[in-house]
Structure formats: structure tokens, C-alpha cells
């Protein structure tokens, strides 16, 4: 019997050498005449341990990591002779970092072979669709509504209401669009699930299509994610071959077809109306709302547009029932959130947990503080448009309303950690600069405001009329916040104002040390 090993094919693992490790394992096995079978999975999300190698044993999978090419021979010797190895982490399911999570959406990610539809089905895949087919539109809509699922892209709009609006709309054609334009720095959950469990996204979108009466879906993936594009395309081909896409879905009379479209490096296309324009083949200019995409979306037709993680949450909700999902969470934030710990962090990766965990627990406890070992000074939550929080706000629970109450947002669930070497003036300036570069140009507060913001913060950096210019930046932020068409111009003030509010000392001129009189 051959030895079964698991090595991730996730882009994050490949970037730190997973392909080289897999190759070295094959070569070492060949030299020793040992038969091995390497399954390339998605990532478990414990990125500081990548490349992670897991070995199937009668006691479950045993993990080793982080493994480099040079560790492979000794690893092999240890496996063959069943002796200890310095990289042995023990049973993967017993690692505290994984054990304390609630993996509803990411249950299969890192476990199964993402290229195998059989593996997906063997691990509970397509049970959600099966139940959906037996329920019918109204019952599905009440399940999704009762689950309390809110848009995981950042806006947090109730998914059930969005679907219901499209289901009730009358049109000759309707569309399902998956927003996989995950442009926020510090976020990678969409990428991970597309690479590690792509059938889950397909299943979620298929359920949406059957529910609202749409026969065509698009997944708009950013061009910076070539591995995800490849994984989704391979999964779509496999699903078509097995009767899970195109006509007669799962043996029913309904049809649903899926297509991947690739973005072209515009951050603003993560905004839903800009994304629709881009899908239609135009400049990614934001549309004024109303009309909402649910009424007037892709090609002017009623459209469900949701984030990858929203669609990925659907199969669990249908398979296990709304209550099983809604039992997790706090307040109006129900279910789990795949949180991404990034930047200068010791234990970076994906941590899926029920809403309600505090920021401090996530950063200090789960994340283990900074990678550099210096004190954590600031964390940016929710991507480039999210606020910078100081340690004083680490008691904030991870919840849409709790973050909003403190002038922040959870966005797509990314947390970027900075140590005490950070200069918050530079971060504020970068927020404005990023907005200036990425602005679609349609509305004035965003297009002009961001450039004026960069200039004014530069004046502050040069020490020119500092307090007047700080007031000016604050005023400008208010104009952008309330006058912009979309979240790009409207939310860029979050990082800027939070930096000014919580890290004011960075903006004031350094106190000059007076020389003692001779």
C-alpha cells in the first residue's frame, strides 16, 4: 500500500515553496523505492506553517511544517522508521489554532482535493443543492433569510432580501454574479476557497440561480489571482461533465451555466456596479443607485451579485438548515466569518469563527502578536478602506454594528497588523494616494478629493501650518464620506480619520529639543 501525503497547491503555499517540497518528496520516494501518493489540497490557512505536509495514518492525518526541500530526506527517514522529527506538529485536527475555529464555510478547505468532484461529494458536497431542489423557491428564500446571512463582501446587506427581490422581479433573463474581485490588502479568503474548494462556490451560485430563476452566472475574478482562475475553470469543466451545470441540474428540469471572467487590475471593480460595467465590457465606472442591481443589473437585467464568501456560506445553510448557521454569532451578525490575519503577524492565516470574538483575542491570542516581535501599534481592519484601530480599541467585538459604532468596518474580514515602527502619516497619505490612483473618476469628491488629500497630508508631513491643514483634511474627509458615489471615495476617510484620531501624535511636528543656553 502506498503512503498518502497531502501538500497544498494554494498560491500562498506555492509562494513559499510547496511545489518544490512536493517534487522533493516524489524524488525521495523514488530513490527509496517507496510508493507514495501526493494529494495536492487547498490550504488549511495556517500560513506560518506552510509548506505543510500531512501524512495519512490510521490515527488520522499527522502534520509536519514548515517543511523545506532540504528537510525532505530526514522527514522521509522519520516517516519510514516511525521516529520523531523536529517538524512534527502532531495530529492536524488537534492543533489548537484549528481546533478553536468553527469551520462551516472552510470545512473542506485544505482537506480535500479541489480538482475532485468525487472528493467534494464524499465530504458532504452538493447536499445543499439536493435539499434546495426539494424545497422550491419560497422555502429556500425563507431558509436564507432565517440564517441571517449578510453580504460578506463588506456591505453586510441581508442576502435573503437581495435574493427575494430578484426572485420577484419579472424579466426574460436574470443573472447570478459572483464578486471575486478581492482587492483589499489583508484579505485572501475568496482566493483560498476558490483554490481549495471551488465546487462550494459553484454549488452556492447554482442554488442562487435555481432560487431566483437565473440560468446564467458569471464569476468575476481579479487578474492578480491566476491560480484561482485556473481552479474555478477546472471545477466548472468537471461540474459540467457530471451534470451539475448546464441543463438538468442534479437531475432537475432547471438549467444553470457558469462562466469565469477575468478583471484587469482595477480595484474599483470590486464595487458591485463597477464590476457589472466591467463584465459588460466597459470602463469600470460606478453606477448611481437606484436602480439597484437586483432590479437593473447585468445587461440591465435583474441580478443577484454577491461576494464569494456569501455564496460559499449557502450550501451549509441549505444542507444543515438556517438555524444551524444562525445559532452562531452575536446581535445582527449571524453565523461565522472567515477572518484573515495578515501583515506583520506571527501566526497569519485564515481563522473562521463565530461573530463576537474580540479584536484583541484575534491579534494577540490567535495571531500571536507581530512577526518582528515588536509591540503591536495599529491594526487596519477591512482593507484599504478600513479604519486603523489602536490597542485601546482591542475590546471591540467582531460584529458589523460594533465596528460601525467605533467608526470602523469589518469589510471583508481582513486584519493587517503593524508594529510600533509604523508612521501613521504615511499610512494616511497612502490611503488617499490609493484612492487617487484607483478612483474611477465619475464623482468629484473621490476623483479630486483624494488628490487634494495627498497634497494636504504632504504639507502636514513637511510641517506646514499643521493644525490648519489637519482641520482641512478632516473637512475634506467629510465631503468625500457624504458626497462620493461609492465606497471607494466614501470610505477612504476611514483610514485617514482614524489615523488622525487615534494616532494624532504622528501628525504633529516633533517637539524640538531646546538647546541649553551657553
Amino acid at each position: 500500500m502506498s503512503m498518502r501525503l497531502y501538500v497544498s497547491r494554494d498560491a500562498g503555499a506555492v509562494a513559499v515553496g510547496a511545489d518544490e517540497v512536493a517534487l522533493a518528496l516524489e524524488q525521495a520516494a523514488a530513490r527509496r523505492g517507496v510508493a507514495i501518493d501526493i494529494v495536492r489540497t487547498g490550504s488549511r490557512g495556517l500560513y506560518w506553517l506552510e509548506p505543510l505536509v500531512e501524512v495519512a495514518t490510521p490515527q488520522g492525518r499527522i502534520a509536519f511544517g514548515p517543511v523545506t526541500e532540504t528537510d525532505v530526506p530526514s522527514l522521509f527517514d522519520a516517516l519510514a522508521s516511525n521516529t520523531p522529527h523536529f517538524l512534527r506538529l502532531g495530529a492536524i485536527d488537534e492543533l489548537p489554532w484549528l481546533k478553536r475555529q468553527t469551520r462551516l464555510t472552510f470545512a473542506r478547505c485544505g482537506v480535500i482535493d479541489p480538482r475532485s468532484l468525487d472528493d467534494y461529494r464524499a465530504h458532504g458536497g452538493y447536499r445543499g443543492l439536493e435539499r434546495a431542489l426539494s424545497l422550491g423557491t419560497d422555502a429556500i428564500l425563507s431558509e436564507v433569510t432565517a440564517s441571517g446571512l449578510r453580504g460578506r463582501g463588506g456591505a453586510g446587506f441581508p442576502t435573503g432580501i437581495k435574493w427575494k427581490t430578484v426572485a420577484q422581479a419579472k424579466a426574460d433573463r436574470k443573472f447570478i454574479v459572483c464578486n471575486a474581485d478581492e482587492g483589499d490588502s489583508g484579505t485572501f479568503a475568496d482566493r483560498m476557497i476558490m483554490e481549495g474548494d471551488p465546487f462550494l462556490v459553484i454549488e452556492g451560485m447554482t442554488i442562487a440561480g435555481l432560487t431566483v430563476g437565473a440560468a446564467k452566472g458569471y464569476i468575476y475574478i481579479r487578474s492578480e489571482y491566476p491560480h484561482a482562475v485556473e481552479a474555478m475553470n477546472a471545477a466548472i469543466t468537471a461540474a459540467k461533465r457530471s451534470g451539475y451545470l448546464d441543463s438538468y441540474i442534479g437531475g432537475s428540469k432547471q438549467a444553470f451555466d457558469l462562466e469565469v471572467r477575468v478583471g484587469a487590475g482595477a480595484y474599483v471593480c470590486g464595487e458591485e456596479t463597477s464590476l457589472l460595467e466591467s463584465l459588460e465590457g466597459r470602463r469600470g465606472l460606478v453606477r448611481a443607485k437606484p436602480p439597484l442591481p437586483a432590479h437593473h443589473g447585468l445587461f440591465g437585467k435583474p441580478t443577484v451579485i454577491n461576494n464569494v464568501l456569501s455564496f460559499a456560506a449557502i450550501p451549509f445553510i441549505l444542507a444543515e438548515g438556517a438555524k444551524a448557521y444562525a445559532d452562531f454569532g452575536m446581535g445582527r451578525s449571524r453565523g461565522t466569518m472567515p477572518i484573515q490575519l495578515a501583515g506583520n503577524i506571527r501566526h497569519g492565516g485564515l481563522f473562521e469563527t463565530a461573530f463576537g470574538v474580540t479584536l484583541g483575542e484575534l491579534v494577540d491570542d490567535v495571531g500571536g502578536g507581530t512577526f518582528t516581535g515588536r509591540p503591536v501599534r495599529a491594526v487596519q481592519v477591512g482593507g484599504p478602506l478600513g479604519a486603523y484601530f489602536p490597542r485601546a480599541l482591542f475590546d471591540t467585538p467582531f460584529d458589523y454594528e460594533a465596528f460601525a459604532a467605533r467608526d470602523g468596518l469589518i469589510g471583508h474580514g481582513g486584519i493587517v497588523v503593524f508594529d510600533d515602527s509604523v508612521d501613521m502619516r504615511r499610512q494616511a497619505r497612502f490611503a488617499m494616494e490609493f484612492c487617487a490612483v484607483e478612483s474611477c473618476g465619475k464623482c468629484t469628491p473621490c476623483r479630486i478629493g483624494s488628490t487634494r488629500g495627498v497634497e494636504t497630508i504632504e504639507k502636514i508631513m513637511r510641517g506646514e501650518r499643521v493644525s490648519e491643514n489637519i482641520t482641512l483634511v478632516e473637512d475634506l474627509c467629510n465631503t468625500m464620506k457624504f458626497g462620493s458615489l461609492c465606497a471607494l471615495g466614501g470610505f477612504t476617510p476611514y483610514p485617514v480619520l482614524s489615523a488622525l484620531k487615534h494616532f494624532r501624535e504622528d501628525f504633529l511636528p516633533a517637539p524640538t529639543t531646546l538647546q541649553a543656553a551657553e
Binding site: E20, G183, S185, F188, V262, F299, G343, P384, V422
Partner: protein
């Protein structure tokens, strides 16, 4: 060691361009799809292709030019033999990306967004590769590199210059 991968593009050819356009023109909202396909074949989107795309999709040249210039990905001229992209977004900034970008600029003698005089290396910023838990990150001709440090960066720069 990974073999040095060198992107290989066809020289611009009108007939070939027309073929590529025709292959995708029937899809709904095909403009970006076609521009991507042209760039994949030729390494950039040749000026001469713009009116051809416009005609195939029954759009004005201005509309296609507008789409072409809106998106950061589309190139107006061929890149250098190797393209080194450094992530400059917040997670990589937090992990020391600023200093690495400055080092790459100094080593190559060009600023981000430009190509060395010998046309060997194009150095570009990229805003997030989604490798934020193994920051800082980079991409050399489609190959991803995480946990970048001075030593790894120097090796990448040397590889790109070969």
C-alpha cells in the same frame, strides 16, 4: 531550483489579431476578454488592434480606447523580458515592503513602473496578490514568491537580470 521561465510572445500580425478578435467577439460584453487575449498573444495591445476591436464589436474607437486605458493591466508597449511585480499594499507595507521596493529600485536602477534600459526587466508595483499572511510578496513572470526578504529579493533581481 525552478527553471527560469521566459514569456514568449508573437510579433504583432494583423491577420492573427483579427483571428483572435473573431474568436471572442460573439461573447456578451467581450471587450475585456478580447483585450486580454490580444495581450496574451502579443505581450501588449498594439495600437492597430484598437480600431479592429471597435469594428468587430460595433463600438466606436473612442469607446474601446477608453476601456483599454481604464485598466492597469493592459500594456501599450511590450514589457521587458522579465516582469518583476512587488506588492505595495498595506499588508506588505506592514511587513517591510517599503524597504524592499526601494532596494529593488536601487539594484535595477529604475523606479517602479518602468523598464531597465537594456529591456531586460520591467519593475512594477502590484496591489495585493492575496499572499498577505506570508508578506511581503512578489511575482516574477507569473511565479509567486512569499516571505520576501533582502536575500530572496536579491536572488530574484539577479534571476530577472539574467
Amino acid at each position: 531550483m525552478t527553471a527560469v521561465y521566459e514569456p514568449c510572445y508573437e510579433p504583432w500580425d494583423e491577420t492573427r489579431g483579427a483571428e483572435i478578435i473573431a474568436e471572442h467577439a460573439r461573447q456578451e460584453g467581450a471587450t475585456l476578454v478580447i483585450l486580454h487575449a490580444l495581450q496574451e498573444a502579443f505581450g501588449y495591445v498594439p495600437e492597430a488592434a484598437i480600431p479592429m476591436v471597435a469594428q468587430a464589436l460595433n463600438l466606436s474607437r473612442a469607446e474601446v480606447h477608453g476601456v483599454f486605458t481604464f485598466y492597469h493591466d493592459f500594456r501599450h508597449k511590450p514589457a521587458g523580458r522579465h516582469v518583476l511585480k512587488l506588492c505595495r499594499a498595506e499588508a506588505c507595507q506592514a511587513a517591510g515592503g517599503d524597504a524592499l521596493a526601494a532596494r529593488a529600485e536601487a539594484k535595477l536602477g529604475v523606479s517602479l513602473g518602468s523598464t531597465t534600459a537594456d529591456d531586460r526587466v520591467t519593475l512594477e508595483p502590484i496591489y495585493c496578490l492575496g499572499l498577505c499572511a506570508t508578506a511581503p510578496s512578489a511575482m516574477l513572470d507569473g511565479r509567486l514568491i512569499g516571505r520576501l526578504d533582502q536575500k530572496r529579493l536579491d536572488a530574484l533581481v539577479a534571476e530577472a537580470q539574467r
